[in-house]
Symmetry: C2
Subunit: 334 residues, 2 copies
DNA sequence: TTGGTGTATTACATCGATGTACGCTGGAGC
DNA sequence: GCTCCAGCGTACATCGATGTAATACACCAA
């Protein structure tokens, strides 16, 4: 069995509490005492038992990150950014993948969340009130705009505005018949709904009618579904000169399908995505997209979460918006 | 404060130990008693305190996964697969990103590993004995072939053979001057070294000399470094008709740089990668690659780890090999 | 009746660190 | 000389579940 605090205390000739104070950097420890304790720690190769600390103090130093999937590049990059941001605060991240609405609910009620100090939740897209009834017991920050019972800090980008920006960009480059890939009729308040809303609002303002034939559903937003959706659009026969895919993976899949069909991007069809994942700038042609600022989102979320964890009070309800940026690349060139 | 086991016990009219037995599915609990306890649990909305269980039993139900980075698509997909496999065993995954050799060492010595039941470690590439001195205190499965002190179960693909297969494929499609992207002179036993070895062995057998001008270093293996490496190869002036990139991200970056230089893939230069990440099948042209079987790797690793965790004995030293598969796509077509 | 076996349950110590409340010391201030 | 306080340390209870060993009970065979 490895050494425990009592062994260290005995060797250093002090009480266990003093050892604890040294380890936790508490004030009122004489320099001399600190030295002795540190020497004893080294001598015994003592390692703090986190379970015990956790039990006694109620903190674990672990925060959870719940995302739908890690195979979607955006979430993988978000996870990376979150892990990095958490580390700066001395926290580690336990990643949970929700994958479906049912699993998401199950997770939120599971005892697994008990030993987590806080949770960053990126909910699935689904109907509006899906999560409002959940009562969360840990400090939580929600990414996106879904209402989640008990959680009142939201960090997000204005996805509707970002989608509007992407759509406007297509209009500005002279496109008029803009198809959409990634809609979800089942979603009333999530990313799919908001992005579609942004698209619609711009077209309406421009006086362009929305055409059902130009709207393709896809779920989840991964390459293969983008390719499939595009093939269906093409088979449907409706004419279009641009595609707004609701994320980069869909866009890349769509570009692939366009290429297969002998259509040129951006010559015949312009394509734009959302997310600015790494793959987007290295595709051929490079993909125009909107960067939702996932780096900032991760940092902001972790900061907001640690604040909640420390203060121990109910946080001020708020919604933090992170800036987004249009990246015009080859896929939408005139 | 939420209910604890004692409250449940009082309400059900039994001892806390009996409650514990019910929760943990131990035998010798009368059906009637079980019912009463379960009713009490429901009534009080009792949730087990994992910290306490962890302290007492020494198990946490959490396994660690240490990978260099999540922005590399391969690791993200590996992480996804691991989380899924762990879940089947009722385990959750705490993801650590190492990023550098120093951080990797720091992690392996950190008390954070204390509250983990087991670790799946995908080491950084580095000199041979870098990690042999580390003494791991938790059951560990190593992905890849690095010797890590104390850990004796390795799950990996034969990377050298996989690289050889990729190289042979290029030869079979009529290429002779094959450039390499992703070499690392600092690495003597990691992925870079093994993949380079496979490349070299095939060329040697084919009687083709290795040319220094055709070897480009890159670290880490992400798109931008693939593109940069390719630009340097082109600037160097050496002629080549194929590129073997040590992973798909590098390959995609390289394809992008080739396109920028007005070179056609596969017409002028064939390109092959390794990993079979999602992006590879949707690039234009689609990328030939070797699938290292990450799904199987994840499953196997989790299985080997749980076995170690349960048996509580030193595992049988072994090396499990997972099959790999060549996927010939457009980027290497004649 | 006694003893033996199998089932069901309990009392109690225990895991290891930390919060609380308090004790001791030396020196400044009157 | 005495109080008072800041600075430093300590004893002890405590967090909540679980392993151990012991006990209670029923049932059956000898």
């Amino acid at each position: 069995m490895s050494a425990k605090m009592q062994d260290v205390a005995r060797l250093a000739g002090v009480s266990t509490k003093t050892v604890s104070n040294v380890i936790n950097g508490r004030p009122y420890v004489a320099a001399e005492t600190r030295r002795k304790v540190e020497a004893a720690i080294d001598a015994l190769d003592y390692k703090l038992n986190l379970a015990a600390r956790n039990l006694r103090s109620g903190r674990s130093g672990v925060i959870g990150l719940a995302v739908p999937s890690l195979s979607v590049a955006y979430f993988a990059e978000l996870a990376e950014a979150t892990v990095a941001a958490a580390e700066e605060q001395g926290l580690v991240v336990q990643i949970e993948r929700t994958g479906s609405v049912a699993r998401e609910r199950a997770l939120l009620n599971s005892p697994r969340l008990q030993h987590i100090d806080g949770l960053i939740l990126n909910p699935m897209d689904h109907g509006a009130e899906e999560l409002e009834s959940v009562q969360l017991s840990v400090p939580t920050v929600v990414l996106g705009d879904h209402a989640v019972g008990g959680a009142v800090v939201h960090v997000s980008t204005d996805q509707r505005a970002a989608a509007a920006l992407a759509t406007e960009h297509l209009l500005l480059t002279g496109r008029r018949r803009i198809a959409v890939i990634g809609a979800r009729s089942s979603d009333s308040r999530g990313s799919a709904a908001l992005r579609f809303d942004g698209y619609r609002s711009v077209l309406e303002r421009a006086g362009i009618p929305i055409e059902r034939d130009l709207i393709a559903e896809a779920d989840p937003w991964i390459q293969i579904n983008g390719a499939t959706a595009m093939r269906e659009l093409l088979r449907g026969g409706a004419k279009f000169d641009a595609v707004f895919a609701f994320n980069d993976s869909l866009a890349l899949g769509a570009m692939r399908a366009l290429d297969d069909a002998g259509l040129h991007v951006p010559g015949d069809v312009a394509v734009i995505g959302i997310d600015n994942t790494a793959e987007a700038s290295y595709s051929i042609p490079s993909l125009s997209t909107v960067d939702l600022g996932r780096q900032r989102i991760a940092e902001t979320a972790v900061a907001a979460l640690t604040e909640q964890m420390i203060s121990n009070e109910r946080p001020v309800p708020r919604r933090v918006l992170v800036d987004f940026t249009l990246l015009a690349r080859e896929s939408t060139r005139r």
